[in-house]
Symmetry: C2
Subunit: 451 residues, 2 copies
Amino acid sequence: MSYESYFAERREQQLGELKEFLTIPSISALSEHKQDMIKAAEWVAGKLESAGLENVKIHQTAGHPIVYAEHLHAPGKPTILVYGHYDVQPVDPLNLWETPPFEPTERDGKLYARGATDDKGQVFLHIKAIEALLKQEQQLPVNVKFCIEGEEEISSPNLLTFLNEQQEMLATDAVLISDTSLIEKGKPAISIGLRGLCSLEVSIQASNTDLHSGTYGGGVPNALHAMVELLASLHDKQGRITVEGFYEGVPELTAAMHEEFEKQNFNEEQLKKTLGLSTTYGEEGYTFVERTGARPTLELNGVWGGFQGEGTKTVIPKEAHAKITCRLVGQQDPQRILDAIIAHLHANVQPGVTLKVKPGEKARAFDMDPSIPLLQTAADAYEAVYGTRALFTKDGGSIPIVETFSRQLSAPVIMMGFGLPDENLHAPNEHFNLENFDKGLLTIVEFLKRV
Amino acid sequence: MSYESYFAERREQQLGELKEFLTIPSISALSEHKQDMIKAAEWVAGKLESAGLENVKIHQTAGHPIVYAEHLHAPGKPTILVYGHYDVQPVDPLNLWETPPFEPTERDGKLYARGATDDKGQVFLHIKAIEALLKQEQQLPVNVKFCIEGEEEISSPNLLTFLNEQQEMLATDAVLISDTSLIEKGKPAISIGLRGLCSLEVSIQASNTDLHSGTYGGGVPNALHAMVELLASLHDKQGRITVEGFYEGVPELTAAMHEEFEKQNFNEEQLKKTLGLSTTYGEEGYTFVERTGARPTLELNGVWGGFQGEGTKTVIPKEAHAKITCRLVGQQDPQRILDAIIAHLHANVQPGVTLKVKPGEKARAFDMDPSIPLLQTAADAYEAVYGTRALFTKDGGSIPIVETFSRQLSAPVIMMGFGLPDENLHAPNEHFNLENFDKGLLTIVEFLKRV
């Protein structure tokens, strides 16, 4: 039976299984979901087992568990290690979800749920592709390992230790990851670059209690004034980040790179329409694709302080808070960037208030040479299924562990993404376009057969 | 019996009654407390009745009711109308209250509860002072009217209509209000100036959904960036408000006025210690007392957008919000100020985002001539009880209706405050110093006897 027929026959049943996976609220950032993390890990282990994988094991870590499995019966053939994650982002603001985040719902050929595209849906494709190969051919064309973790959305704090301890078990010729996106519907992509990341939380305390704006207004520091002034100082009017030393290690875009970005022929008008933007925005002198693929950023992810309720409250808030993340490129060093931002904040904060900065996650950017044969094989597989050869792109997101993986296992990383850029990952109404569910299964099978 | 003995005998009982009043969560800003507003109005009416006032009536309005009462048996003597309010501010952040806001608790000679000083405690003093006079002397030395409303904390939207409709019933020679503060413990004050007020809410929308900061970061507008930049543009580095035309109608401080402020001999070091400030703050060239008494302000009362939870969420928020209030002085026109701020916001907002501004409350500043005899009588009354003559001060707060009251009833307004500036009004752990509870009762009796 052709793989098309094989998957078509099982479509409803397999979608039902994925929905089951998506009902588990495995939010790694929130400690109240600890049990759900275990449940999700067990669900993955169960599916790997029934797909025909061997030595399936849930490895405990200091945080959430890691699921391992293998199928090593292709002597002389390369080994491919599939990495993915079963954890998902938080879901607030909950009221903006059209259907509840953990009640998967199909609408217009899309499956809506938290984790649908990032990354449960894409992990599921790999399990089912292996299952199909084993059912259809009773063997695999390559050796396969799975390593599915539960802490990707919180920067994988325990994966490095696991990689170090299990170096032998995890040894591989290439790492295969599906946690990125097509350029747009019908235009596949293989990411050969990921931005790095660093994060920090900023607090300002101005007084020991909230104060009445009549009695004290104009005479005491206001934590919110100090905060907005400080945060505004991080960018100039041209969208450039003003932190001293921030751009150290950022490669200048060569004419050749400009040209490569041009080739993507990115539809900016479509993007604006989809997101409801009247204009894109960012650093002067760069296109949207360059800004998000090859330039670093400093983004405010959250800011809050004072009264947020109904009506008016004439209060001078005693404290204000902000959450910041940066995306890093090239040789930018996450620790040096954090140090530079912290120095900027201390140098620019209004005198007389107390500033506290808590550094968070850190990950280097990652880049790969597209001439590696396995990357070309992956592009061929896309072409066979999508009718369009995959382009090699730089992805704006960060999978912090990719660079570590590549270094620790001395293996190239093949990022075959099946998401779409407007699938609301990390936002309300996350979804997975089922066209890429169907084509994703076939592309993975095609790739493994060609390796 | 002396009034000292009279009040001393009844102290526990009267404090018990006040605590009963303070258990009613009469938050006028929150619609869920509608029934509590009625309960508080009925409580006030009951106490006025049992104090010996006549024609006690709860007047319905389009919002919360107004309680009226009178005692008009002193022919040939002036009429004094007591104004106050039974509504209170919201209580969040609730977790910062040492004891629950609606469970009145005595600690160190202070009574802690929302409304203890603003304004239930001070309204209560007037009811009990009248009761004492009637019990001790079977008559009042003046004619007295009470007008106690339930919408002061939301800018009294229905009081003006009531004043217009009931002009005859409310006719008076002077309005007596206790809703302000002493300068500090033992240093009484009569406010002869109140700042005006205007308020607005600002929203910025940047896209139609929250976006992933990896995929889109650096290439699309971030609502929080636009908001902090816009809000930071409202002040310059010297603490001056940059809105064009904002200072029109603000009287320049004369040397004589400087001197008057100096006389208050305000203890700035003590203030800093109490509030945990390393420095006061504000417009260059003015002292703390001048900044809060005679200068206008523009304060951020609340700012929010994006992720406020535990951990990191790499989101570009689609929207951001802010609440702003201004305190106004002299001839500043609230409507013109609002117009000027709105024009500033539209002129300075980052291109490509959608700005919405919702204007709120408006009230003019109010000033009175301290040579009016009744004001001097009030100062005498303080001197008799506190041993220190009250100073005539400018108060930073706003009682929006004071100016309207004075204009509508063609009567001076005597503001005899018994609060203290550090009693956390509008903040967690609001309280009322019981020394001023005791002395307040005596001062009001003393004043009414001297009129």
